[in-house]
């Protein structure tokens, strides 16, 4: 297939060539274990510290508050389970939302089985968590609030600063899963009162298998991976030096271009949204129109199913994703789309397209032109659409 339009940057991004080039010497040349004594290996300790400084700088944090992990999922697991253990004597109550990533939700379920209580907050029809609801859910035994910075499916950006302020006022720790937001939108951990923050390399043109957890100084947190003294004894295991270097480079590049990228992607995003809304009937934009990641577009198309849509887009060289059950192997559609109140069959017919700085307006024109045809084709073979049309005709004759 010649044409390839990649609109699944929320799933993963292309590792940028500069990142790969920065990493390469750390495989073959500077391969030493940073914990070793001899100079050429020990130099890698400095290299790691440098990356920590870059990342901390972007967040307004201190270098020794950045802990490298194997990615967003590990960071989320660590933040939740280790905090739960460390603050057990204070209480066993955790507050989160219904639209978190499974790395949070399934960890919460794991904790529930171990005697913790979790409040899963509802969201509104745009996927926003109400800070007042967060405040109302706080109890004397609440030890942690974990709300994602931005949702991975519908792109809604949560009122993190407000929630952070509430958490801070009540003396409750605040964690945010910023996997989709970090280096895509500005985040300052002090301004938002964030105590812990998860991020991942491969969502920002860095390598896969590397991420970090920001842990504010003073937060009691147990180690999650036990072994050597790496990462201030909190995360054992020989450092993934090439990965860390790649992550550092990716963050440096992303931070430097963030402003222009946001402007560019927002313009393209809104162009895509407006063309779809104008040209494809019976669709709904999912997620908040304004408080939204610059690169996220998520639509539901009534009467059709998401997997069929994805396969047909794939045949046209377009890569996207869906909240359809069929793409996940379960019968239930996305928990996020159900949480914002979509009926099952409409949630099944959803399409997520996530852009990047390489996406062009021409790409999006090609996508909409094809999408229009595909949606019409799938509707022409949908019994739900047939019923809908017949009902409309009947109503017309009756009127």
């Amino acid at each position: 297939m010649e044409k390839l339009i990649y609109l699944d940057n929320a799933a993963t991004t292309k590792t940028s060539p500069e990142v790969v080039n920065a990493m390469l010497p750390y495989f073959t040349e500077h391969f030493g274990n940073p914990s070793s004594v001899y100079g050429f290996a020990a130099a890698n300790k400095e290299v790691i510290t440098k990356q920590r400084e870059i990342i901390a700088g972007v967040l307004g944090a201190k270098a020794n508050e950045i802990y490298f992990t194997a990615g967003g999922t590990e960071s989320d697991n660590w933040a939740l389970t280790a905090t739960a253990e460390a603050y057990e004597s204070k209480g066993k109550h955790i507050i989160t939302s219904k639209i978190e990533h499974h790395a949070i939700l399934h960890t919460c379920e794991y904790l529930e089985k171990r005697g913790y209580e979790v409040t899963y907050l509802d969201v509104d029809e745009n996927g926003l968590v109400d800070p007042k609801a967060v405040e109302a859910a706080i109890r004397p035994d609440t030890i942690l609030i974990s709300i994602m910075f931005a949702n991975n499916e519908i792109g809604t950006i949560e009122p993190i600063a407000e929630i952070g302020r509430i958490a801070h006022e009540h003396g409750v720790l605040f964690h945010t899963d910023a996997v989709q937001a970090f280096a895509h939108v500005p985040i300052n951990v002090d301004e938002c009162n964030i105590d812990m923050l998860s991020a991942s390399g491969h969502k920002l043109n860095g390598p896969k298998g590397i991420g970090f957890l920001y842990i504010r100084k003073g937060v009691k947190i147990r180690s999650f991976i036990h072994g050597g003294a790496q990462e201030r004894k909190r995360r054992a295991g020989t450092e993934n030096v090439p990965g860390i270097v790649g992550l550092g480079k990716a963050v440096e590049l992303a931070a430097a271009s963030m402003k222009e990228r946001m402007d560019y992607e927002t313009e393209l995003r809104d162009y895509l949204i407006s063309r779809i809304e104008k040209e494809i009937p019976y669709c709904r934009l999912n997620g908040d129109r304004v408080k939204r990641l610059p690169n996220n577009v998520n639509f539901s198309f009534q009467f059709i199913e998401g997997e069929s849509l994805l396969i047909m887009l794939d045949m046209k060289g377009i890569c996207a994703s869906s909240g359809s059950a069929c793409t996940s192997g379960s019968l239930d559609p996305s928990h996020v789309l159900l949480a914002i109140g979509l009926p099952h069959e409409i949630a099944h017919g959803s399409l997520r397209m996530t852009l990047d700085e390489e996406t062009t307006k021409d790409d999006l024109d090609y996508v909409v032109d094809n999408l229009k045809e595909i949606v019409a084709q799938l509707r022409s073979m949908s019994p739900l659409y047939e019923d809908f049309v017949k009902k409309q005709e009947k109503n017309k004759t009756e009127a």
């Binding site: 019976y282 669709c283 709904r284 539901s300 009534q302 009467f303 059709i304 199913e305 998401g306 997997e307 069929s308 396969i311 045949m315 359809s324 059950a325 069929c326 192997g329 019968l331 559609p333 009926p343 099952h344 069959e345 409409i346 099944h348 022409s380 073979m381 949908s382 019994p383 739900l384 659409y385 047939e386 019923d387 809908f388």
Partner: protein, 147 residues
Amino acid sequence: MYTEKVMDHFQHPRNVGEIENASGVGTVGNAKCGDIMRIYLDIDENQIIRDVKFKTFGCGAAVATSSMATELVKGKNIQEAMQVTNKAVMEALDGLPPVKVHCSLLAEEAIHAALWDYAEKNGIKIEGLEKPKSDIHEGEEEEEEEY
């Protein structure tokens, strides 16, 4: 993920459409699970399936199994059509991923539901045919939603 045959039937589905004044119509599945299949049968006086059409809301496998099922019953008499099981549909498609096996069951049920409708309309009994269990009307209230 899908075999070539599944992809072929998904990309070029056979017998898509409706039959006006069909001898039997069957709709199975529900929107909750993301699959709805509707089969139209045109059956002649010798109980031969002269024509068959389908409409499906569902994934690639749901479309492909509906398409294959219509191919397998076309031109058969109703007793032969009863022999078109989900296994036969799957084999004809060179297999389905395990999570999609339910689509082939739905295709079998859709054929049976259409035959049931035909049998009821004509006051006959078809050997081995049972009343269809799943029904589209379970989800009807939710279908009112519009955007």
